[in-house]
């Protein structure tokens, strides 16, 4: 263990004291940025209260302090077990999570929810749980290569989690999509956790299978096509994605898993032809589904002709989408100001449509800032992948990063009419426990990977 590798013999307590006294530059930078993120979050919470009620109410102090304490606990944990981890990821995620809580609190105010009825209170508890899980992950997983060994465990986990919402009695259909599980005391979206298990499995599997998949077969139409015997894996994943589309009725989730697999396959093999094969398969499946499955057809109609009164009034039609667009438009370039708009008009304004809520009150400027934060996060993730020491680590970093990127695209693209609306949630911003836990686990894994990258470089260069 790295703690005991130090040349000077000392007790563990002395070692701990030493580490606390000599924090690295990276962690100090991280601490500074977290303080900044907390300042922005607290200001946002205060503006929400002032804008919506004209005064500062006690709950916001709890929300501000709560988030601060939780994130600092994560930060302190890193000082012990991941000293060289990327210093930007945690502050970015803190800010996104904080802005999300501010907007959820704002929507609580307009809906008249308070105490434990308030979504913001529950989001805060879920943030705490998610962070504790993240701390556990970063403390327990000291070496990411271990994860590669359990790739078939991840596969099994992923499949079980995917199937879970389809199990009678515990599976729940919300807004037409069967993505939820209700165990009585808690309900969650297993698909959110499944995306991590699948990223781990795909990365682990492709590291071993890449050589075979890289070999190309016959040439036709001017390009070399994969060998027939190598088509097995992509067909299996495609079949799973189609089953998700048909039984869970969610294009977004289906697209997320399949897109993840395609990108990792491309990165692992370097063969762009897999995009052609996979994209063709998925497009064909979606096309057939849109013709034969009424709910998919309805989603497409609501997307293509949103303002048509028939689609607007249809059950599961474009009402929510159109109201969200009205929200965006009402915000304009600079927004109405926090607490000064009417985001509560849109159904699910705190989860699926939180970007519309933020767009209304923070305007295009705020939307760009949030998208820029995601881009920065993604850039750090790709950088971890590029600097990765081993192929599994690289694939895992890219997989986890891409899953966040694609999910942001699917959700924000859905509410802004780039693609049909889906049942996915905006990472870190949207109200929802499973999503928070899953995305914080991704944060922990990326931090672990980045720590390993720098740590190994230090060992090699002897710094």
């Amino acid at each position: 263990m790295s703690l005991l590798n130090n040349s000077t013999p000392a007790t563990i307590t002395e070692q701990l004291m030493l580490r606390l006294k000599v924090p690295t530059k990276l962690r100090n930078l991280e601490a500074t940025l977290i303080v900044f993120a907390m300042a922005v979050t607290s200001a946002a919470l205060a503006l929400v209260d002032l804008g919506a009620t004209g005064q500062l109410n006690p709950p916001i102090i709890g929300l501000s302090l709560g988030l601060g304490v939780i994130v600092l606990a994560m930060h302190v944990a890193q000082r012990f077990v991941a000293r060289d981890a990327d210093p930007l990821i945690l502050p970015i995620v803190t800010l996104l999570n904080g802005l999300g809580i501010a907007m959820i609190h704002r929507l609580d105010l307009s809906a008249g929810l308070s105490g434990w009825q308030a979504n913001a209170s529950r989001q805060m508890v879920w943030t705490a749980i998610a962070t504790v899980v993240a701390i556990v992950v970063i403390v327990v997983v000291r070496n990411h290569r271990v994860l590669q060994r359990y790739r078939y465990v991840w596969m099994l986990t992923g499949v079980v989690l995917l199937v879970l919402p389809l199990v009678p009695f515990i599976g729940v259909t919300i807004n037409g999509a069967r993505l939820w599980v209700n165990l009585g005391f808690v309900s969650f979206q297993p698909g959110e956790i499944a995306k991590i298990a699948l990223a781990l499995f795909f990365a682990g599997y492709l590291v071993t299978a890449r050589d075979s998949l890289s070999v190309m077969g016959k040439k036709a139409f001017g390009v070399r096509w994969p060998r027939t015997k190598d088509l097995g894996p992509i067909l299996v994943v495609w079949a799973v994605a189609m089953l998700v589309l048909i039984f869970q009725r969610d294009l977004g989730t289906s697209l997320l898993y399949f897109g993840l697999f395609l990108v990792l396959m491309y990165v692992a093999t370097g063969r762009a032809i897999w995009f052609v094969v996979g994209g063709g398969l998925f497009g064909l499946g979606a096309l057939i589904a849109s013709q034969f499955l009424t709910y998919v057809h309805g989603r497409f109609a609501a997307w293509l002709d949103s303002f048509n009164q028939v689609n607007y009034e249809a059950v599961g039609g474009s009402y929510q989408l159109v109201q969200g667009l009205f929200g965006f438009a009402s915000g304009g370039i600079i927004g109405t100001g926090l607490g000064a708009g009417h985001p509560g008009i849109v159904p699910l304004a705190e989860s699926d449509y939180i970007m519309a809520s933020l767009g209304e009150e923070l305007g295009l400027v705020g939307v760009f800032a949030i998208l820029a934060l995601y881009l920065l996060f993604i850039a750090r993730g790709i950088r971890i992948g590029v600097n990765g020491s081993d192929d599994f680590g690289r694939l895992l970093a890219i997989g986890l990063t891409f899953v966040i990127a694609l999910q942001v695209f699917i959700v924000v693209g859905g509410v802004t009419r780039v693609i049909p609306v889906t049942g996915l949630t905006t990472p870190f911003l949207a109200a929802g426990g499973s999503s928070l836990v899953a995305n914080w686990i991704i944060v922990a894994l990326l931090l672990r990977l980045s720590d390993t990258v720098r740590h190994q470089r230090e060992e090699v260069t002897g710094q």
Partner: protein, 484 residues
């Protein structure tokens, strides 16, 4: 792996590029289109969240926006109750907007182009934008006197300052309380609104400018007399035949004067006498001599057929087209299909009072910025010059005679010379009359021109006359004006 990662990065950049483009399209380029969509309730909420400007009479706010805690942020409050409702109109959350609230909505809501810089400064200062306030030309005492004079009767009064066109009073009864329509409970608004619409009394009808148009009866003789004198075809002393009854050409109808006898003694009668005694047969003869096109020309100079905005839109008064001789003769004493608003008749008197110049009537004195500094002050505007000063003088003389020694005697005031003309219009077999008075005072230096209409014979069926019911109302209003 590195080149592939670079390409994946480019792919992600393209995806996010699409998001930057889509949000920009929605939040910058489609904003106007999305805001005007009728399904967008935010636009409605925003219009409520600006502090709508007040409406003032003198220095008193008769309409103001009072802050509330609900989504509409302000409660529109009408201090005058039903008194000013025919002018201000109502402002509802779900049943539209009427009256001045509608006509000057852009100014009151701060959306007028002239308020662009106020909007910018509100944006920068973070204060909610405020609308402009409107100061009315209406005089509180005169408005109240007119309202009291009408009492329980159903009708209207319009009083205009002849040399400026400023409307001093504009009353319509029965009225309604706009506060009941301004409440933020949409079901209550709907119930109240439907109740008002269903009411036989017609409280939502603005009888002064936009009600069902009325038969003018004898007050239309002023227009015919003006045409006769001003066209040069006749003078005050010109005479026509004076029978006790007259069979209309190509018709079995026989017309009579109101007295049932000839118009005073003699075989012929002057225009002056015919107007003073308000006889029908002589005016039927005058109208037949002048012809439809001459009368229409003068009617239109007074505003018939035109949409008058004060700035509420008044219904155009009607002088019929393509009449045969019988119809032309009937219309010449204000029957057949001649239809007018009280505003139109007040404008006729106003032009006569102002030496033949008709000023555009208006209720707006000035538009005030949120800090009550005047940004636009009303300037008198000439609408037309329908008749020459000498015609106006001659008509004025006849109208004075009409009050002092004729059919409009109940408008007379001690020590003040009042010019006037009554009307008792028939609405069909057995229907109650529409009772009229229009005129101005003091005759030598007019400060007010007035029109009074009373529906349903003032509750007296066919026994009430313009002189017995409408003229006393006008007298009270004139008194109120002169005591200012």
């Amino acid at each position: 792996m590195i080149p592939e990662l670079r390409k994946v990065s480019i792919g992600i950049a393209v995806l996010f590029g699409a998001l930057f483009v889509s949000t920009t399209l929605i939040q910058v380029f489609q904003v106007d289109q999305l805001r005007v969509d009728p399904r967008n309730v935010r636009t409605l909420y925003q219009s409520y969240s600006t502090e709508r400007g007040s409406i003032l009479v003198g220095s008193n706010e008769i309409v103001e926006s009072v802050p509330t805690d609900d989504v509409y942020k302000y409660q529109r409050t009408y201090h005058g109750g039903g008194l000013y409702a025919p002018i201000t109109g109502y402002y509802t959350i779900n049943q539209g907007v009427s009256g001045l609230e509608f006509a000057l909505n852009d100014q009151l809501s701060g959306q007028a182009n002239s308020q662009f810089f106020d909007q910018i400064s509100a944006l920068v200062s973070g204060k909610d934008p405020r609308g402009a306030s409107i100061k009315l030309t209406v005089n509180a005492a005169i408005q109240q006197a007119a309202r009291d004079a009408l009492g329980e009767l159903s009708g209207a009064v319009v009083a205009i300052e002849p040399d400026t066109g400023r409307i001093l009073a504009l009353v319509s009864t029965p009225s309604y309380d706009p506060n009941e329509l301004a409440t933020h409970d949409s079901q209550a608004v709907l119930d109240k609104f439907n109740g008002l619409i269903a009411s036989n009394a017609g409280p939502l009808v603005n009888r002064a400018i936009a009600g069902d148009l009325y038969h003018p009866g004898s007050v239309f003789k002023l227009v015919v007399a003006a045409a006769a004198l001003d066209s040069g075809r006749m003078t005050e002393r010109s005479t026509v035949n004076n029978p006790a009854s007259l069979k209309l050409p190509q018709s079995s109808s026989v017309i009579h004067n109101a007295t049932g006898d000839s118009c005073g003694p003699g075989n012929s009668v002057t225009i002056a006498t015919a107007l003073r005694l308000s006889c029908n047969i002589p005016f039927a003869e005058i109208g037949a001599q002048l012809g439809e096109s001459t009368i229409r020309d003068y009617a239109e100079r007074f505003g018939f057929g035109a949409t008058i905005e004060i700035p509420m839109v008044a219904t155009p008064s009607i002088y019929p087209d393509g009449m045969d001789d019988a119809q032309l003769m009937m219309s010449s004493f204000g029957q057949f299909d001649v239809r007018v608003t009280p505003l139109q008749m007040a404008m006729v008197s106003s032009a006569i009072a102002n030496g033949g110049l008709l000023m555009s009537p208006t209720v707006v004195d000035s538009i005030l910025s949120p800090d009550l500094a005047a940004t636009t002050t009303f300037q008198p505007v000439q609408y037309s010059s329908p008749i020459s000063p000498s015609t106006a003088q001659a008509l004025g003389r006849m109208m004075v005679q009409n009050v002092s020694a004729g059919a409009a005697s109940n408008a007379a005031l001690n020590g003040v010379s009042v010019a006037g003309k009554t009307g008792t219009a028939e609405n069909g077999q057995g229907q109650p009359y529409t009772l009229w008075f229009t005129g101005f005072a003091p005759a030598n230096n007019p400060v007010v021109a007035i029109a009074v209409v009373v529906e349903n014979g003032g509750g007296l069926g066919q026994s009430g006359t313009g002189n017995s019911v409408a003229a006393p109302i006008a007298r009270k209003v004139i008194q109120a004006v002169l005591s200012q």
